[in-house]
Symmetry: C2
């Protein structure tokens, strides 16, 4: 069926994209320099800079959400607390992508020029996350606001205290748990 792709696949590019985004900005020049692939190949694969950027963000969001949702929907009694802790844990196991998610803005990766299919995909993924939190709120009887703060905002705030520069220390986890329960106690 014709020539196969070389070693470079989406994973390589999204990883490089994540690293570059974490350091500052992604330019095609730097992607080319880091991957060794040529501009032509990049355009052949992704159609535009926007396509590559969106892929990078999407890849990071999916990697995180997989873990977050597994905890949140585990059915365990402490599912919420574990989901809150998924954030600092993700930072330790998947640093580059965690930096993308916690230190960059989605708007750096998505624009009106982003390919339609990727735009739909990110909307779908975001909606899935939001729906899971809504379900958790309904199921536990807590307010949606409390859940968003305890599950997402406080954990994110905590890791951002360290993330672009330092490792996220284990000691943080107790504070994240406590903040989670403080939110649950409040609404």
């Amino acid at each position: 069926m014709g020539r196969l792709s070389t070693v470079h696949d989406d994973e390589v590019f999204s990883a490089v994209g994540a690293r570059l985004a974490a350091e500052g900005a992604i330019t095609l020049q730097t992607v080319v320099a880091e991957t060794g692939v040529s501009v032509g190949s990049l355009y052949h694969r992704y159609g535009s800079r926007e396509g590559l950027l969106a892929l990078t963000w999407l890849d990071a969001v999916k990697a995180f959400q997989e873990r977050f949702l597994a905890e949140l929907e585990s059915g365990h009694e402490d599912a919420g607390e574990c989901a809150a802790l998924a954030t600092p844990r993700f930072c330790r196991s998947d640093r580059q992508r965690a930096i993308v998610l916690s230190c960059c803005r989605a708007s750096e990766f998505f624009s009106p020029a982003t390919p339609q299919d990727l735009q739909k995909e990110i909307t779908r993924v975001n909606a899935a996350g939001a729906a899971a939190i809504r379900r958790y709120a309904k199921h536990t009887g807590h307010s949606l606001e409390a859940c968003r703060l305890g599950l997402v905002a406080f954990p994110l705030g905590a890791v951002r205290l360290y993330l672009p520069a330092r490792a996220v220390p284990e000691a943080i986890d107790d504070y994240v748990s406590a903040a989670f329960w403080s939110a649950m106690g409040n609404g």
Copy 2:
């Protein structure tokens, strides 16, 4: 002593810079378009793009820190809680600058090309903030980590749940207070 400056002073430029940064990226083209001033004037005043960017960040940091430190060092019993609440309150009263501080990265505004004096100034301001938190920690007997989380990280995390797009609701404040005390109770 020669011609005076026109209406345009630092405040105007840092405000425009903040708005543009909040929306996406600051380019000299957009600054020119928004302020009506010419490129030549911009360079006459700030020497380089870096000078203008650094001024924007510095201005936002100082505006916030003034309020934060006033609360933290008020001597009141609930100084810490009030300092934690300074973040959501700042978001309501000074939205543009709050977006700069909470949604942008300092590294977008400072680079090796930033004028020396501004680099020193931001270092000084940052150190002053860090020192105040250390004093608070010592004075109250809490760990530095607990104080940084309760005073800075959790409040910031909370407002970032809303900030680039929405207003920060009043209802958040109770959660921020609770998260602050949860950190204090933990170390």
